[in-house]
């Protein structure tokens, strides 16, 4: 059993988004005590991010009822739950203790739960483009979180580009908050593949139709089959020029980019941790609906492993089957979406000018990568090239570097990033705090 101040608990859930909350509710409903750590100031995660005051401007659309349902369940089992906000999973030390850091107080605690469920959410994929490192360029997901948290749209010009249905969602949310974007510029040609869309669950189609309607009414232009040629500074902000004969070009204050979502497996699976699971988008990258189901399925697995009940109930078996069905339906839906929004990323990468920044943290360019030789090893790329060595630990460059290397026929595997903790930078003070605490506890017990 773990103790965290006055709380003691059985299972640690990292991440208070859809998957984490869904898992936590299921665990507590079986009588397990659960501790949730959430890096933001409120529960909800990227999909259901709330304003700190709890207000919700109805930006979450179809996912809102999912949230209400989870919160109602959460309230019913509240006495078995403890929540730490502004807290991150830092890593697992050599003794198997989980180190959790509170970033607002710069303090760490080490915990020894019976099981841990990591539900840290997806990574947003953004392909490098000429000028993507300039201030004013952010991910579409970042813009969406800004809108959901602050409940106000920046009173500035916004352009959305890249690929995927999130661009339409964010454009519609901006419009609803009174600042329609200049345009949505999609690389794929989804309207030419509408027959694929007929295979999507009806909820997906209604959601998309709703977004498109909002954009049409507001007169927001939607382009297809256009790629960003370059992003540069201009007197009034950013100038974004696109491929095509008509020299399509926009001057904007903000540019939101999106190229889909990916799994986010930058945590680490510690040796010797008895029960460790990854749940939701960090493991699957299949979106909100799948994350909620997966959170619950993983919780059932933990309940079985901890032998909360002497035998697996029929009810539990039936529920697991239902959840697996949801997951396979969502997997099919996401693969249909991938067909509708298919983009030849390899060609887009190969056409990048050599001065484009690949590593955003250390501002290393494509030519810096090529300077390392024809087929550099992982160590050479990291230690000589300084790629995947910055504060983001390769989350935003490693995938693209591996794609660029594949072209060169690399002999190295694609393990450019390892598993090191802390999984993100924390202050020394936060670590020292816990080390002091542990040392004094050790001293006390030996006295």
């Amino acid at each position: 059993m773990s103790s965290d101040g006055e709380h003691s608990f059985d299972v640690l859930v990292v991440g208070g988004g859809l998957a984490g909350m869904s898992a936590a509710c299921k665990l507590a409903e079986s009588g397990l005590r659960v501790h949730i750590v959430e890096q933001a100031t409120t529960l909800g995660g990227a999909v259901l991010r709330r304003a700190q005051t709890g207000q919700n401007p109805n930006l979450n659309g179809v996912h809102e009822s999912s949230w209400r349902d989870l919160m109602a369940r959460f309230d019913r089992v509240r006495k078995l739950m403890s929540v730490s906000v502004c807290s991150t999973y830092t890593g697992t030390d050599s003794t198997g203790a989980i180190v959790v850091t509170n970033t607002s107080t710069s303090t760490s605690v080490s915990l020894r739960p019976k099981a841990i469920i990591v539900a840290t959410g997806a990574l947003e994929k953004v392909r490098p483009r000429m000028g993507w490192h300039l201030p004013g360029v952010m991910t579409a997901g970042a813009l969406q979180v800004l809108l959901k948290t602050s409940l106000r749209a920046p009173k500035k010009r916004v352009l959305l580009a890249g690929s995927g249905p999130l661009l339409l969602a964010v454009a519609a949310q901006l419009t609803r908050l009174g600042n329609p974007p200049l345009a949505v510029i999609e690389e794929a040609r989804p309207s030419r593949k509408f027959w694929h869309a007929l295979k999507l669950p009806v909820g997906y189609l209604l959601e998309a139709a709703n977004y498109i309607k909002v954009l049409k009414v507001a007169g927001v232009p939607i382009y297809e089959g256009r790629f960003i040629a370059r992003i540069e500074h201009c007197t009034s902000g950013l100038r974004v020029s696109f491929t095509g004969d008509d020299k399509l070009c926009f001057d904007t204050d903000f540019l939101a980019l999106h190229d889909g979502i990916a799994k986010n497996c930058y945590g680490m699976r510690p040796v010797g941790m008895p029960i460790w699971h990854e749940a939701g988008d960090c493991a699957l990258g299949l979106g909100a609906r799948a994350s909620r189901a997966h959170g619950e399925a993983v919780a059932i697995e933990v309940i079985k492993q901890l032998q909360v009940f002497p035998v697996e109930s029929v009810e539990m078996k039936v529920r697991t089957k239902e959840l697996l069905d949801v997951l396979s339906r969502e997997r099919a839906a996401q693969s249909t979406l991938a067909k509708i929004y298919s983009v030849d990323e390899q060609s887009a990468l190969d056409e990048l000018p050599h001065e484009v920044i690949i590593c955003r943290c250390e501002k290393k360019s494509l030519s810096d990568l090529f300077d390392l030789g024809a087929d550099p090893t992982n160590r050479e790329i990291r230690l000589n090239g300084r790629f995947a060595m910055g504060a983001c630990q390769g989350r935003f460059c490693a995938h693209w570097i591996n794609m660029l290397r594949k072209k060169a026929g690399t002999a190295e595997g694609d393990r450019l990033i390892g598993s090191h903790w802390p999984i993100k930078p924390i202050s020394m003070q936060a670590l020292i705090h816990e080390a002091d605490h542990l040392l004094s506890a050790e001293k006390k017990s030996s006295d």
């Binding site: 700190q52 991150t88 201030p135 800004l146 948290t149 602050s150």
Partner: protein, 87 residues
């Protein structure tokens, strides 16, 4: 409206703002200076890219996208070229 200080200049915020949203609404989009001297700003918005790190008065770096605003708190743009927060 409440306020905090950005490089000693007052910035208004609402109770729903993070440091990042307050700065963007205030018209500040350069949050830091990166290793090569180019400015950094908010990018991923969910604490993964570390691009929006700003410096608190006690020298610690925090992600502006995750950090709540506190009345009269002082934040500074971090300068990773010289690790200003360690000097």
């Amino acid at each position: 409206m409440s306020r905090f200080f950005w490089n000693d200049e007052p910035v208004g915020f609402t109770e729903n703002d993070t440091v990042a949203t307050a700065l963007l609404h205030h018209g500040v989009s350069n949050f830091a200076v990166s290793k090569d001297g180019r400015p950094n700003s908010i990018f991923c918005g969910i604490g993964q890219c570390q691009s929006c790190l700003v410096r608190k008065e006690n020298g610690e770096s925090v992600e502006a996208c995750l950090c709540s605003c506190i009345e009269n708190e002082r934040f500074y743009s971090s300068d990773s070229r010289g690790d200003a927060h360690e000097q």
